[in-house]
């Protein structure tokens, strides 16, 4: 079993490769995991990007299934983006919630990007699990996988990568009070390309 100490998860199966440039403040509580794909063909692409700061995730699984820890698990990173409305997507909004969300999403005359921003601000006010996870309460796991611009699809997550993902998630369950219901694929949470992490299995 892995040991979590000061935000570093210690195990022979996890290579520490911390990029302070993507750590954006404290991560006080972990409510969920968000699974991503990198959109590039190698781990090094992500590492190069992380060196410049900006967006990033806490863990990365390369093509061979090697797991890297790229940010402390007690530090926030920018990996989620603007969130969708959870109750709206699941069709479980109360009457007043549905009214509020549709007022935002269908606001005639307002640009679609602005509607997405307004929806995000609206959802942020809710507590988890009534909303999707945010950067401030989730751990991001990147799986290295390229995006084929011609076919408009991410490459499939390999068996080795899925094996590592399953193991990693099992370990994170031990350290944080989360369950399978708290694991999300990135496009389910935010407006992203539909096939991202679609073949990730846990």
């Amino acid at each position: 079993m892995t040991v979590l100490q000061a935000g570093i998860i210690k195990d022979k199966n996890i290579m520490p490769r911390i990029f302070h440039s993507i750590e954006k403040g404290p991560l006080i509580k972990v409510n969920a995991l968000v699974i991503h794909q990198t959109g590039a063909s190698t781990a090094q692409h992500s590492f190069n990007s992380y060196m410049n700061g900006g967006n990033g995730a806490h863990l990365l699984i390369d093509k061979q299934g090697v797991i890297y820890q790229t940010a402390h698990l007690n530090k926030k990173t920018y990996h989620v983006g603007k969130i969708r409305s959870k109750c709206y997507e699941a069709n479980v909004c109360s009457k007043s919630q549905l009214q509020a969300v549709t007022l935002i999403l269908f606001k005639s005359g307002k640009s679609y990007p602005d509607r997405v921003s307004d929806l995000h601000k609206h959802e942020k006010r809710k507590n988890y699990p009534d909303r999707y996870p945010l950067n401030q309460d989730s751990i991001g796991i990147e799986i290295v996988g390229n995006y084929d611009k011609s076919k408009k699809i991410y490459e499939s997550v390999s068996g080795m990568q899925n094996q590592s993902l399953r193991w990693l998630i099992g370990e994170l369950f031990n350290h944080f009070k989360i369950t399978k219901a708290d694991i999300y694929r990135h496009p389910d949470v935010s407006y992203k390309t539909h096939s991202e992490a679609s073949t990730a299995k846990w």
Binding site: T38, K110, Y112, K192
Partner: protein, 124 residues
């Protein structure tokens, strides 16, 4: 002399490549708006998204060619799109603009991804 010729050839190749790049916006002309649609479920909030030819042209004049990573990190990829045809130099291209300010142009084998942070006035 041979070395000089080789250097000149390389220079010309680089120059020609630069000139043929879609970053030369003045030569990209939207010819038609052919369709509007959406990827997923019916009733998408953006399903009424549409553009005319001038708006599509304006988008591509204002948008920047970006990497897929930049699209992923910085833009909302919305399920609603408008598609049409364009001409770049003598090439016929297919274009697509999505309601979240992202776009795509396919000219032959080449695929270019666009993002516009200054297009909210036409994305409504």
């Amino acid at each position: 002399m041979v070395i000089i010729m080789k250097i000149v050839n390389i220079f010309m190749l680089v120059l020609l490549t630069a000139c043929s790049s879609l970053e030369n916006k003045s030569e990209f002309i939207v010819l038609s708006v052919d369709s509007a649609g959406y990827d997923r479920k019916v009733g998408e909030f953006c399903s009424d998204f549409n553009l005319d030819k001038n708006e599509a042209q304006s988008f591509f004049e204002r948008a920047q060619i970006i990497s897929f990573k930049e699209l992923h990190d910085n833009y909302s990829f919305l399920p609603c799109f408008v598609r049409g045809k364009a001409q770049f130099k003598k090439m016929m291209c297919d274009w697509e603009i999505r309601a979240g300010g992202t776009g795509e142009v396919v000219c032959g084998e080449e695929v270019y991804i666009y993002g516009c942070t200054d297009c909210n006035d036409i994305l409504r």
